[in-house]
Every structure is written in C-alpha cells, then in structure tokens.
Amino acid sequence: MTTLAFGQKQKTWFDEAFVLLRRELMDTLRDWRIIVPIASLTLFFPFLMNLTAGLASEWVTKYGGAPIIGERIIPFLLMVVGFFPLSFSLVIALEVFVGEKERKSLEPLLASPLSDSQLYFGKALASMIPPLVASYLGIAVYLVGLKIFRGWQPAPELFVLVILLTTAKAVVMVSGAVVISSQTTSVRAANLLASFIIIPMALLMQGESLIMFWANYPVLWWILAALIVVNILLVRMGLHLFDREELLGREIDELNPRVVWLKFKGFWQSVEPGGPVERFTLRRVYTRDLPSILRRTGLATLTVVLALVAAMVGGWLYARSFPLPQRFWSPQALTMETLHSAPAVGFLPAFTAEAVLSNNIRSLLLGGLLAVFSFGALAVVLLMAPMGIIGFFMFQVAHWGMSPWLFFATFVMPHGLFELPAAVLATAAALRLGAAVLARSASPRLTVGEGWLAALADFVKVFVFATLPLLLIAAIVEVNLTLRVVLWAYGLH
C-alpha cells in the first residue's frame, strides 16, 4: 500500500473547486439539449430583436407617434435579449444539483475531500457560466446589429445596468435553484418548485420593461441593489443547505399533497412550529398563538412599518415636486353626498361596509399570494401604494394651507385605528411567508418546505383571528363614523 495522494502539494481552495467546475462545464457543453437552444438564442434571437426594434420604430413613425416611443423599445429588447439565454441557468442548475442527486452520482462526490462550499461554488459557477456567456454574446450581437443598421448605441449607464442586472438575475436563478434542489430528490419535483423562481423573475421583467419604457434608470439601480440583497440571502441559504448532512440526511422523495396537508395541520394545531399538537381553542389562539406569532414576525412587522412610513414620505416628496392647484379640492365642497358618490370614480368600492370589507380582504389576500412569488416584496409594495397616496394628499392639504395632521386624523385615523394594524399584521405575515424560502426557519429541525408551511399556518392564523375581525370593525367605522368625523372636523354638514 502506498499513500499516493497524501504527499502531494496542497492545492488552493479554488484549484480544487475549479476541478469540479471544469467537469461540470464539460458535461453541460456535451449536452446538445442545452447547447442547441442556447446557441440559437444567442445567434438568431438578437437578429430577430433587431428586426423587431426596426419595425416597431417605423410603425410608430408611420402612424404619427413620437419617435421616442419606438426608441424606448430598443433598451427593453436589449434586456430581453440578455435574459432569454439566461433562463437556461435555471435548467442547468437544477440538472447539476438535483439531477445529480437523482442519478445517484452525487454520493461519490460527497465522499471526496472537497468541502461543501467548494462543491457549492464549483457547481453554481458551472451553472452560471454558459448561460451568462451566451447572454453577453447575445447582447453584443444585438448591439452590433443596432449600431450597423440603426446607428444606435446605448448610454454607458444603460449598458452597465443591463449587464449587471443580467448577471444578478443569473445568480438569483442559480442560487434559488440550489435551495429548491436541496428540498427535492427528482428533477421533476424541482421543476415544479422552480415556479417560485420563474414567476418572480417574470414579474420583475415586466416591472423593468415599464421602467425602461419611461427611461427611469435610477429605479433600475434600486432593483439591482434589491437583487444583490436577495442574492446574498439565497447564497447564504444555499451554502447552509448544500451540506452533506442535509443532502443525505433528509430525503423528500415527492411532493405529496397528503403529507403537505398533514404537516400544515400539525403547524396549525401547535403554538410553536414543530412543537406539540395541542387542543385548538379560541382562548388558546388569542392568549398564546397570536402573541407567539407576533414575536416571530417582529422583524417583518418592523420592516412593513418602516416601508409604510417610507411610502408616506415618498408620497409627500412626490407631491412636493408635482403640487396640485387648489381648485382640485376644497373642503367646503365636501358633503355627505359627495363622499358617498366617490366610488363612481371607478376604482373605489361601493361605500357600504360589506363592499369596503370585501375590498380590503381581497387586497390583503392578493398581497399574500404575490408574496409567495416575490420573496414577500410585492405584499409590502401593494400596501405601500395607498400609504404613498395618503402621504401625497397630506402634502397637498398642507400646500393648500390646511393642517395635514387634521386631514390624517379625520380621513384616515377613525377606521385606520383598526385597518392599519390589520393590514400591517397581514402584510408582515405575508412578508415572512414569502421570505421563508430564503431564510433558515425559526426551528433548526425544520426543512425549508416545513418552514414555509409553518409560515403559511401563521399567516392563516393572523388573517383569520386578527386581520378579519379588525377589518370588519374598520369597515363599519369607515362607513358610519369616518365621514361624520370629516364633516364635523371641517365644520360641514
């Protein structure tokens, strides 16, 4: 017996990870199912987009539109050209992580001297490099085409933004795929869970397209910053999950609705996630469950409150830039009839307690649903919108020489005393639900999936036992009291 390996010169951390990276890259490049579509998207799609950009521009000009409308499509298509090859990073990552687990070729790797982090980075980089290279190439082909045929070139800021956003999205998709892979043992199950990555990415693309159309590039920098934060969280989570113990110690073979339901039921029936199942009573919910959930959602609640304050300040600042003339509104014009007829504007609900209640429930449930597919962010954004409007009107009122605090106290506070806590609680629970796929669950014994189900049970408990009763009271107060307070405060009838 000899000791072949032990006398060797020690390689660096990266040298060892690079061995794995190179093998994974070689494997991907040999898979025609991946290479052919990537090559097509890289070489042909940019030409198609060049053609589209040209046609769109001509069409707008032909029908008398401002040429800027056509021009604004070009940067958006630049982003699309970069994104399409990038979508393969998700496919490759699922194949490289969970595919290897499914083919049982992961264990020999786990038995090798490579550390968990070397395995993680070797595989993650291998999933990212081919689609990113294809993406950059696609962008280059598109830009060269634009330069030659239309004489257009992007502003340096736009170019840097698109490259950075594209790279950040690749990291999100790959690091998200690792989190998903660690929860499944088959590519099929992983593909089902991949909607948790694809849907937020699609929503983000739609948001970015609007921003690009308005050429509001500073917002894109904020989006980039948010993506970097998400990346840090996902990579941290991935590093935690991609360890030998988690990969081999916990094996969830399939998505079994019955098991999922039983787990949810268990969390519903226990006070603490993973704690003992106890008799479910209303008394227990209000004395133990809700206080316990409030403790768990403390950070999320603080985040929501800060976001709402920021939205109000933002609304105020926006109004300061675009103040409305006073003829738009006069308190003297307020009567019970005008307030009751406000819903005729179109987007406001009928002014009955039932309609107000159902509108508020729908909005907050929609927030919960969007939270699931946006790591919680869209639930907060949805609630920030009305707070931004309140901030906007508070400034307007101040601008017209009236007290913004009186406005807030009369128009918002009577029912807001109940509605705002209800909305904050539900949104904080929704934020936690969305973020549960990013963060280690409260109990180290729970998997990511179990942590998510525990957060869902918390959301439902908060919604049913705290938000709904508060919204009901708020709706009754809003319809029966708020208007009277407004009229009384402004000395009207």
């Binding site: 017996m1 072949l4 390996a5 898979d31 038995a111 001297p113 113990e245 916990r250």
Partner: protein, 303 residues
Amino acid sequence: MIEAENLTKKFDDFVAVDSLSLSVPAGQVLALLGPNGAGKTTTVRMLSAILAPTTGRAIVAGFDVRQSPGEVRRRVGMLTEMPGLYLRMQAVEYLDFFGQLYGLGASQRQARAAALLSRFGMADAVDKRLSDYSKGMRQKLALIRSMLHDPPVLLLDEPTSAMDPQSARLVRDAIAALRGERHAIILCTHNLFEAEELADNIAIIRRGRIVEQGTMASLKSRLLGPPLMEVRLNAPLDGLLPDFFQRVQVVEQGDVWLRYQTEDPAVENPRLLRWLADRGAGVVTLSEVARSLEDVYLRVVAE
C-alpha cells in the same frame, strides 16, 4: 485502522444507527451484514465522514470523523451502493477527474488508472462513453474509482452486484489482494458466500444495532452449537443404538446414518471409530457437516 465506539445516528426521531462499535485493523476485512434498512449504509457514510455521528466516536486512518472529516475522506475509498457515474464521460476522463479531486499528480493519475483498468480487464473499453458500459462494467469502474488514490481504508457497498461470475471472481481476488496489502476493508454485502470467503470478521446489524460480531468460526460455534459430524454405515446399527446415544449427542438419524455434535472432534471421533470397529459396525464415511454463514445469518435475523 477503523475504530468506532458507540456510534449513533439519528434523523429527527428515527435512530438509524444505535451505539455501534466495531474495529477493523489494517489487513483485515469486516463483512457488515444485515437486511435492507438495517443501518449499513448510514454506518458506512459516518465512517467515510459524509454524515456526522449524532453521538459516539470513530477514528478512521488515524483521524476523527467529526473533527477532521476532510482528512478522513482523503484516506477512504468508497464504493457506493449505486455506481453513480457520469455517463457522458469516458473511463479515462472519469478517473482523471476523481484523481484530481484526491490530489493525485497527472503522471500518478495516468499510471494508476491504466494499471487498475488493466487489472480489471477494462483496458480495451477506456475510449467508450460510460453510457455504453454494461452494468457490470460500470460497477467495476466505480470500484476502480474507489481504489484510485490507493486509500488505506476501503468501504465497499455491494462490490460485485450486477457482475457476471468471471468479473465477480476478479473483484473478490482484488479485495483479497488489497487485504494482503494491509488495507482495512469494510464490505457491505448480501452475498453471504462472498462474505464468508473474504471476511476475517463478520458483524450482523439489525435495526441499527450490531447484534452479532466475531470470526466466522466463533459465530458458528456460538449460534449453531458445536461442530456437527455425520457418520455413514454399511448397515443399520440396530442393537448398538442405545449405547451410541449414550456416547455422543445425536441430533438427527436415518437408517444407515447419524448426525451428532461434539465439542472436541479431534478426541471424540477416533474414540467413536474405535468403538464402532470393535463392535463390527462398517463405517463408510465420517465427516463434518458444512454449516454456512447463511445458517448463522438466518438464525440471527429470524430472532
């Protein structure tokens, strides 16, 4: 070379391995036997530092699996239950990749791979893609992978499964040779013939616990009783039978044969033969009845 003491592994509330202790010195083979789900794979995963023990301690090739998992993995060759090959690669590429992971230099990788491929009769198939390999060839290549860095400790899970008899013989010879080269080997197998042929010690594991452990002879003696002898005669003993029953412990009998157990065959058998000859009984044969590891295993597992 492998020392495990009260090794326990829990997955949540499920105890996969429970207070397992074993020892395998250099140059010995331990066969780890047990039904599916008994805890063999989890034991091997702990000894190869893939899983950390919940409690207990294991020293493999001089390193603690919990404190120095990287050093342990560097010194262990592991053959997993499934070959787990990369099917788009060729054998040479595949072995080169694993050689690099284990820190072998380029010339060492080439030399070791060539020698092992030749030893297992696979030198002609090195240019084929692994997807074109038969099950047996894949298993042999996985075994070569585990031996590539010449580790002092080998943990082999079903090394001859899916192999034709000729290849299985080749692998068994290789394991015997490795034992001769002072490697410590743990062999997980359902092939009891293979275990009996190769193992110096046998450990039978059930529901995460080692229920029997020892050499083949000691296990047989402990579980199946003293050696079983069979005497065949040219005619029935008839009137001599009562006396015969008094001399030895007869366990089975036919017209012209008897089986008896004796603690000391070297003393008892010549004495019995003399007694039969003195009384004119014609002895055709006197031999020990072979009792296999299967008898031992089934006895333990049935309990």
